[in-house]
């Protein structure tokens, strides 16, 4: 037997062994997911899947009876309500690439960020899309967004480690510079007292900027906490953690409390919002590249599940 034949025989044996082990490893396995309710007073329900037409949403916002999606996987801004179902409001044809987070003002104008194309984008109440300020004005990779009491928009930039103030006319200025030490302002929200909460999911810190512009590290537990999206409702801050697959609630003066832990296909929890009845909606990016995502509703036991 020549050398080539011996090598071929060895390769065949190795291939057989690897195939057999791979078979033992993968036969009958399918991806699964779990939601573990740490707070037993809540229940979990699948609110929306790809079947209703969403892609893989990131930011979520409940506003005046409608649920709005910054659909990162589907590259679109969408809304859903019981009567109209899912409605695409604006899509990638307008120029954005990865809708990240969104806010809506009192006049129903929608503003959203884009961590790939950068910039601040608007869809007016009348349905007119426009780029308020783009990467040419320094908004390179926009993440968190918050509506300031004076009507301006605060936009976090993960590349420049800053929070910018953007006026409706598109003027951009520094709101929190690099000297504040925030690495990635992934999500931001004002509470009912005018304090600004900032989630940094790079340094894994939740900050609070008080009315005197003093920055406090509210939660700093690098090993087990990484705030992805924050949403303030009813005196509490709801926090998703995509690294650890958790949904928390934080009430000032109290301990951080886990509501639910997510595992498997449902681990990558992203956006969070709360409706008027106190039901919590969490978006899950099961597979962003393949545009697979879900929205899970976490509601109190005994309450009616919202209609899909």
């Amino acid at each position: 037997m020549n050398v080539k034949a011996i090598i071929m025989k060895k390769f065949t044996t190795i291939a057989f062994a690897l195939f057999a082990c791979a078979f033992l490893t993968s036969c009958g396995v399918k991806k699964e997911g779990l939601v573990i309710m740490t707070d037993q007073s809540y229940k979990a329900t699948m609110f929306a899947t790809n079947k209703i037409g969403i892609g893989s949403p990131d930011g979520l916002l409940w506003h005046k009876g409608k649920l709005y999606f910054a659909d990162e996987g589907g590259v679109a801004l969408e809304s859903w309500n019981r009567n109209e179902g899912l409605k695409k409001l604006v899509d990638a044809g307008f120029g954005f690439q990865s809708p990240e987070d969104l806010v809506i003002d009192a006049q129903d104008n929608i503003f959203f960020t884009d961590d790939d194309a950068g910039g601040l984008w608007e869809l007016s109440a009348g349905g007119q899309p426009r780029k308020v300020a783009g990467s040419d004005k320094g908004l390179i990779s926009t993440e968190g967004i918050a509506l300031a009491p004076d009507g301006a928009l605060l936009v976090g930039d993960g590349e420049q480690h800053k929070v910018f103030r953007v006026t409706r006319e598109g003027q951009v200025s520094d709101f929190l510079g690099t000297e504040y030490g925030i690495t990635k302002p992934e999500s931001m929200v004002f509470d009912d007292r005018g304090n600004l909460y900032i989630a940094d999911n790079e340094d894994n810190v939740l900050y609070l900027l008080d009315a005197n512009r003093k920055l406090h590290r509210i939660i700093d537990r690098k090993d087990s906490f990484s705030p992805e999206t924050i949403y303030f409702a009813r005196g509490s801050l709801y926090i998703t953690d995509s690294h650890n697959g958790k949904l928390y609630v934080y009430t000032p003066g109290e301990e951080l409390k886990t509501i639910a832990a997510f595992g498997g296909q449902l681990k990558n929890v992203q956006g969070v919002t709360v409706d008027d009845a106190g039901n919590i909606f969490v978006s899950v990016q099961a597979d962003l590249k393949r545009k697979v995502g879900d929205v899970i509703e976490i509601s109190r036991e005994g309450t009616e599940v919202a209609q899909r």
Binding site: T13, T25, K31, E32, I36, M37, T45, Q265
Partner: protein, 285 residues
Amino acid sequence: MIGTVIISLMVASLSGWFSQLNDQLLLGINSIAGRWWLFDSIVGFFLNNDLAKAGVIGGCFLAAWYGGKSIESTSARRKILITTLVAAVFVITTTKVLSKAIFLPRPEIQTQKIYRLEDDQLVEMKRMPVRTMLDDDSQKDHRALLSGDIDSNDLGSFPSDHAGFFIAISLGIFLASRRLGLLALGWSILVILGGKLISGQHTPLDIAAGATVAIAELALIQYVVRKGFRGWLDNLTGLTLRYSALSSAIVFLIAFEMSSTMIHIRAFLGFLSVMRRHVLLGMGS
């Protein structure tokens, strides 16, 4: 068509029966937990202390490695043990991959309210009335569970990687030396895996699945290595005899890692992964 329906019904009924049996067995074994602090502390000690848990297995492995009465028998034992180590690596990989893909939480986690994804719906799982052991570590873990601190490793209990790893190694030792193998197998089943059942960390099905993977892969690797790599195995075994000091050092390291369920190697691989991300891909601060 009718045949398919009948077979499906039989399979469903059989799997339901197995599941019920599995639960009953687990709850029966677990029923001795949470009653006596001393008993729970002893079980907890053997579960948490690497030396107490796996030192016996490492010791049996070393004894089998050096215990041959002649050069030929030592050589034959070492061939089996080297192949066993290769098989153990495959077994641990298989059980880890499977447990990451099949999300079946540990029974102690199933005391909580859990929803499982089934056909795009979240379905509430049946709760397991598992008793918690009274030792300090178990109580601490239980308090952490109640406050939502759940280790991702606790979400994939099927199959048991402990069962896979220790059964593979113990069976390998058994193939090399019957007496030492019986000791290793007995220790693995009664102390290591028994403790896992009593504490509610695994169900009998998790353990059986881990053991099945171990037996299947050990048999397969032994067959493949003997058929296709006999020459390499002979050479490697010859080297362990020729360079006995060096091979002793390596075997000590292997036995040491075996006794600690390879946590240091896993930590080292994790370190390499972080280094790769930070240095090669330039991610992170």
